[in-house]
């Protein structure tokens, strides 16, 4: 067990008194590098911008959708360092150095990937608004569970609301692709 040890606060902490000192001040605007679908993007962002805002507004990657904008609906789901997260509730400045994967990374050119094809084949979309999030949640699931049960799939996509209630066909699409029942 490690413990943080005695805190010395009568002076500025050591980490502030090094040569980076001036870089590590609270800031309103910061230049960051984001790694998105394998590409690096160097951009200047407001500290208050969420990852979803930077993707959609600064980088014009509008595949990631926004619903509630406060961790309640899942529409903004993407994958960060292998795990699904809500991009509306992550500050872009805190996503620096992370491996970010969005819906734009699934297809190669106009070639949809098998999961996307399975969604079309199973008629898993109604209005389609939740679908980028559903696809990212399913992608994350299929990486850790290659042969998921129906219950696994339901749990895997549970954090994304589908207002249209397209769940049954979404679940079928994910199961289909895991069973290799999609022609690619």
């Amino acid at each position: 067990m490690t413990s943080i040890g005695e805190l010395r606060l009568h002076m500025e902490p050591k980490t502030l008194v090094d040569e980076n000192r001036h870089q590590n001040q609270p800031r309103r605007v910061r230049r960051i590098v984001l790694s998105i679908n394998g590409d690096s993007h160097s951009i200047e962002v407001d500290a208050r911008s969420t990852l979803a805002e930077v993707l959609r507004e600064n980088l014009r990657m509008t595949g990631t959708k926004l619903g509630c904008n406060r961790s309640e609906c899942g529409t903004c789901t993407l994958i960060m360092d292998g795990r699904t997260v809500f991009s509306c509730t992550i500050l872009a400045v805190e996503a620096e150095g992370k491996c970010i994967e969005t819906i734009e990374g699934l297809a190669s050119g106009s070639d949809l990937n098998p999961l996307q094809k399975a969604f079309i084949k199973n008629d898993a979309l109604q209005c389609g608004y939740c679908i980028p999030a559903m696809l990212m949640a399913a992608t994350a699931l299929l990486r850790v569970k290659m042969e998921p049960t129906e219950d696994d799939v339901r749990q895997g996509i549970a954090g994304v609301y589908c207002r249209c209630g397209a769940y049954p066909n979404i679940v079928r699409a994910v199961l289909d692709v895991s069973r290799g029942q999609v022609d690619c």
Binding site: L9, Q25, S49, L91
Partner: protein, 339 residues
């Protein structure tokens, strides 16, 4: 642009000392941010009060390396860094094997994405999820206003059934009852150094503006759980409306020590039914020294809700909690509950 968050300054802290330095320097204006799932929603909805101004400086503590870790030392216990995510806790083999009810409780929190982002420290200090608290138009008691709107308003689900004071919120944490049953200590750092707070003394009553003893310029650095005696068995159960996302209508963490078919010791904590994780010592007494037996358990479950004083719309929580206590005790005792 949406920009629901007002202009803020942001800094990545690289050590606990640095985080506390910034906190002390900016005082009220600053807040630490870890998972952000609670804090950023509060900021976007501009929830504030005299003692809780909308933060202008956010200090990221996810960049402090020693805060994100799970260390188990046999014989001593489990030390979890404050920014360890709930997902890391539920999927740690050591937590699952040695402190199973904590893994179960962490798994019951909200939904995948929240568990991937949310941290154990944040789960303990999350603010009320009372729907009056969460909209700026209701200046309720917790925000420095004169009254609680939930008592005369709608309080069917996420509210207390124990009639303990002004604010009738139900404490939303799932991990807190489990940690309390396991006798955890919360390690807190502040300007004057570090202190270890036994979790029994960490949460405050409904008369207070804040839910915990954490001062505005203090942060949780670690949660420590002592090694449990070998005859310990535990169970955490949560009852909720939806299979995902939802807060507890009621939850129970039970930790039992059983030798030769009788209870040496018991700890029973209720979640979701009081403004803080609620220990029921009388129900524990009803087990201590008794033989492991369904009748003994039923009696303890009845005692557990004896003090209940439900609000107009949440009387159903009393039998719900009683049954949940019974099921948790049956499962921790290795007995099959009849359905």
């Amino acid at each position: 642009m949406l920009y629901e968050i007002p202009q803020i300054e942001h800094v990545n802290a690289r050590s606990t000392e640095e985080a506390i330095y910034w906190l002390s320097r900016y005082g009220d204006k600053a807040k630490v941010i870890a998972g952000g799932t609670d804090l950023l929603s509060l900021i976007k909805d501009k929830i504030n009060g005299p003692q809780m101004p909308i933060p202008e400086v956010l200090i990221n503590i996810k960049t402090i390396p020693e805060m994100d870790r799970i260390d188990y030392s046999p014989g001593k216990g489990l030390s979890i860094g404050a920014t360890t995510t709930l997902y890391d806790i539920e999927s740690s083999n050591e937590v699952r094997e040695k402190f199973g009810m904590l893994a179960d409780a962490a798994h019951e929190v909200a939904t995948n994405q929240i568990r991937n982002m949310g941290t154990i420290g944040g789960n303990l200090v999350q603010r009320p999820w009372c729907w009056y608290f969460r909209v700026p138009q209701f200046n309720c008691y917790k925000k420095g206003g004169p009254q609680c709107y939930a008592i005369s308003g709608s309080h069917k689900y996420y509210f207390s059934m124990l009639g303990l004071g002004v604010c009738v919120m139900a404490h939303p944490s799932d991990t807190a009852p489990a940690l309390m049953a396991l006798g955890a200590e919360i390690v807190v750092a502040g300007e004057s150094g570090q202190r270890r707070v036994p979790i029994d003394g960490f949460f405050l009553g409904p008369q207070e503006v804040f839910e915990t003893v954490l001062k505005p310029n203090e942060i949780i650095t670690e949660v420590f759980i002592p090694e449990q005696p070998p005859n310990t068995r535990g169970s955490f159960l949560k009852s909720r409306l939806r299979g995902t996302w939802d807060f507890a209508l009621s939850s129970v963490a039970a930790r039992l020590q059983i030798t030769n078919g009788s209870y040496d010791d018991a700890k029973i904590i209720l979640g979701g039914v009081a403004p803080f994780p609620f220990r029921v010592p009388l129900a524990e007494d009803a087990l201590r020294g008794k033989r492991v037996d369904e009748e003994v358990i039923s009696l303890a479950a009845a005692v557990a809700v004896k003090r209940a004083h439900p609000l107009a719309q949440n009387g159903y929580k009393v039998p719900l909690t009683q049954n949940l206590v019974k099921r948790a005790l049956m499962s921790a005792s290795g007995l099959e509950a009849e359905v």
